[in-house]
């Protein structure tokens, strides 16, 4: 206690770099505004909230851009526990833009259902705030807080349709397993703290093998911590929640979960691997290798059996997660580190654009068909050619067919694997190659429905796409195509993304 008192007496308030925190502050301000306005706004004018939310997110992009342009390349706060580096800026950009697209997807969806709109926007923005924080957190505590900040609103969003038992189920499953996973992760963190005597990632990195070699506690700690985020990225066998939650949750929320929430998990995983665990790669590399191979394969083979489009996309996104994990499995090998990081960031950027596009089409189509079956896409091309073509583009991109975005993402992942010049890397590369073929089985199935099958109920009235959805479609299409044809643009950002203080190069 004495000791503690001294420490408290010595405490100096940390200096805050407000420019560095500006994106978070803008979002925080925006969500407060939404919360307060919700109390006063008339039910018929609730659409204003979606406008405010979207402008909040766009406004938050401004400081991200100014930070990127400013001379200070790395801003660290609170004793290096909160760092704004190029990696975090790129990822903040990804979160904010995909958040913006999710807002676009949600607005029409919410207007049509009798939902609790104000709270929806509030929760969405809170979760996004958690994600923004996650990108900058470099300390176990701040990572944990960011994780919970992004997760807890997400649990509620998943259960958003209160009267719908499916939605309830989705929320409860997500919550129960999410909390359980983070509890396990926390246990791992506590052990990690025990063996390194620090919660700061860079210190952990240097302390973790300071005693020379490592014990079983190290292994247990590292594995448990990784499990927490493997759950978040729905890596097999920690994926079980994902299909059920995705199917049950409102579709825009599913889009949000499958893109932003998953990306946040990867952000944490990447930061941990690059900043905290570079020297214990013999623990996490095999683990992630197995996770990656399992995730790709199981996600694919299960997706092949699905009849519900959202559930199929859920499994698809599980398997896509396996591809993102792929480069991380060799990230510790000499020479592969930087290309692995680049591959992960690139994959997340492109995957975000493409997958949001898929959900935009699903939303647009389900407005007419009111069905979640894959067969509801039958003959889409004949009555809604634009949507048909766009869905084809997105699915082909997910399947990794040039010249659409997905191919360069997969390409970069393979490149990182081969860059490692290790047998395990090659083997995983072949596993990935085979899986990318299997994946076409179900993507192709949807394409087949769209192009080659008759309209199931013969109803060929055209689909009216609301403006916001159209905008979302436009953004995602342009991104998917541009990243595919000029991959340099996406790669440029991915290449810029460097984690300050990362040991792996």
């Amino acid at each position: 206690m004495q000791h503690l008192n001294i420490l408290v007496a010595q405490w100096v308030a940390p200096t805050i770099d407000y420019h560095g925190l500006a994106p978070e502050l803008v979002v925080a301000g925006g969500l407060c505004l939404v919360l307060i306005l919700d109390l006063f706004i008339d039910e018929r004018k609730k659409w204003l909230l979606s406008v405010i939310s979207s402008f909040t997110l766009l406004a938050a992009m401004i400081p991200v851009v100014t930070l990127a342009l400013s001379d200070t390349s790395v801003r660290s706060m609170i004793g290096d526990r909160y760092v704004v580096d190029s990696f975090s800026l790129v990822m903040k950009g990804v979160f904010l833009l995909s958040g913006y697209v999710v807002v676009l997807l949600s607005s029409s969806h919410l207007e049509e259902g009798e939902y609790w709109r104000g709270e929806y926007w509030f929760l969405l923005l809170s979760s996004l705030l958690g994600m923004l924080m996650m990108t900058s957190s470099r300390d176990l505590v701040s990572i944990f807080v960011a994780l919970e900040l992004l997760s807890i609103p997400a649990y509620m969003l998943a259960a958003w349709r209160k009267r719908d038992p499916k939605s309830n189920e989705a929320g409860v499953k997500y919550f129960m397993l999410g909390v359980f996973a983070s509890a396990v992760m926390l246990y791992g963190m506590s052990l990690l703290y025990g063996v390194t005597n620090s919660t700061l990632l860079v210190d952990i990195a240097s302390q973790i093998t300071a005693t020379g070699g490592f014990s079983s506690v190290h292994a247990l700690a590292v594995v448990f911590v990784i499990v927490g985020f493997a759950f978040k990225v729905s890596a097999v066998p920690f994926h079980t929640w994902a299909p059920d939650t995705y199917e049950g949750a409102p579709t825009p929320v599913t889009a949000f979960l499958s893109v932003a929430s998953k990306a946040a998990g990867f952000v944490a995983l990447v930061v941990l691997i690059y900043s905290a665990f570079p020297l214990v790669q013999s623990i996490w590399q095999p683990f992630i290798w197995v996770l990656s191979a399992l995730t790709m394969t199981v996600g694919n083979v299960l997706a092949l059996r699905q009849h519900n489009i959202v559930r199929m996309i859920a499994y698809s996104s599980i398997s896509q997660g396996g591809f993102v994990l792929m480069p991380l499995a060799v990230a510790g090998m000499p020479g592969a580190g930087s290309s692995a990081l680049r591959a992960v960031v690139l994959y997340m950027i492109i995957y975000a654009a493409t997958n949001l596009g898929v959900f935009a089409v699903i939303l647009a189509v389900s407005r007419k068909t009111r069905s979640g079956e894959v067969t509801s896409f039958g003959g889409l091309f004949s009555y809604a050619p634009t949507l048909g073509v766009l869905m084809t583009i997105f699915l082909a991109s997910l399947a990794g067919i040039p010249p659409l975005g997905g191919w360069i993402a997969k390409f970069a992942a393979f490149q990182a694997l081969l860059q490692s010049q290790s047998t395990w890397g090659y083997v995983l590369g072949v596993v990935g190659a085979v899986n990318s073929v299997i994946a076409f089985g179900y993507y192709g199935n949807v394409m087949r429905e769209i192009w080659m099958r008759p309209v199931p109920d013969g109803d060929t009235t055209p689909i009216r796409t609301p403006g916001s959805l159209g905008l979302a479609l436009g953004i995602t299409t342009v991104a998917t195509l541009t990243f595919g044809i000029f991959p340099g643009i996406a790669l440029h950002f991915a290449d810029l993304a460097e984690i300050a203080g990362a040991v792996i190069r």
């Binding site: 680049r342 010249p403 390409f411 970069a412 081969l418 090659y426 076409f440 089985g441 394409m447 340099g488």
Partner: protein, 513 residues
Amino acid sequence: MNMLRENNWVLSVGTFLPMLGVVVLMLMPKAQDRAIKLIALVTSIATLAVGVYTAVIFDYGQAGKMQFVAETNWISVIKSSYFIGLDGISLPLYLLSMVITLLVVIYSLDHVPSPGKPKAFFSLLLVLQTGMAGTFIAQDLILFFVFFELVLLPMFFMIGVWGGEQRQYASIKFFLYTMFGSALMLVAFLALFVKTGAESFSIPYLIEHGGSIAKNVQIWIFAGMFVGFAVKVPMFPFHTWLPDAHTQAPTQGSVILAAILLKLGTYGFVRIALPILPVAAREWAPYIGGLAVIGIIYGALGCLAQTDMKRLIAFSSVAHMGFVMLGISTLTSFGINAAIFGMVAHGLITGMLFFIAGSVKERYHTLEISKLGGMLTQVPRLGWIFGFCTMASLGLPGLAGFWGEFPAILSAYNPAAGLNVTVFRVYMVIAALGTVLAAGYLLWLYQRIAFGTPKNNSHTGDGHHEKLQDVNTYELLAWTPLLIGILVLGIMPNLLFSVIDPAVQATLVVFGG
């Protein structure tokens, strides 16, 4: 390798002009049938015009060098660039793709296959054109890969939407097969990139440095490429997608598939696999040659077992591409010359045969050989054109097919230094026997379809002979250039060989002359 960079805009324009057409088509309302066809026609004519202009300003004196080279940053992060160029190997194939597309468009003016949707159909056709042309000019592996894959989806839809009874099965099979190959190919490309010091994906660069890779590594990388290209060719154990795809595809799709798409694989061997990995190529050559001759015999036997005209023609492609691969596997400049000639010749001839099969189907509503007969009495012009193409296909000297086949066989007698001569001579004899089988199945086909008297049940159910229309104007327009090409190349093979040869010589420098 020194390169010529003048006029380097022509290639980009020639390749991407169809995409402009696609954009315009996209903006057209669906109902404007005539306008859509007109745009497609104009686009493909313009593309061919650019292609012809390219051929005119091509410096034939330096056909061995890359010409019209353009190189700009594309994906600098992974050291890939937009690097295109044209040499004597690419030029004929590049032009062929443009010609075939135009002819297919002309043919389609009158024959948009069921279920219609001309807008989508022509758009896909033009996208295909960009992909095909791009593959032949890409000088960067990544760019090559992108173009190589670009043709996949349009063809998938072409088969799947406009195809025959089992189109969906055929299209998925086609796609998965090719995708499997190209996934492994991509891994091989990456391995190549890493093993040459992760400096560049440029083909000339890799040719310069690829030879230094350790032998066993080369062999593995070559294996990856082999699968990728062999699926496309298709070589013997990887060919089973082809009969289905060909049979189910609409006429236009079959024509493009046979005339151009199959060549992407063989072109890949010549342009990428052989020069970059010469050591592995030597190791692999006997096996490639072996699979090639198996393909020749096997394809011919497959033909003999067919009862469907289109399927028979499809199987004949397996045999013919076997000759092409045999030429390539000799690793001699002569063999590769023969192979490239064979590609062009096969493109013209088999493309033509598929056109004919399409027209037969349209008139008789069946392709069952047993239900056809007496074509010469009912539609004599079609029958004679069919006969001409049959003769060309079975390798009659004086027509284009012969100059792909005979030199390939010839080259197998004396393969490149270091290859087992005895093995290749055995291949030669087997391949020569294959020519007999080729004559067998083609003439047998011709005899049963064109000769004899028309079958009563051939086209109408009620046994009443309706007057069948002979070759119409659109067909004539679309076919004449091909027929002339078959004849002219048959009589003057040097037109083509003189262009190819310097480029092949330049390519084979890595093999030590």
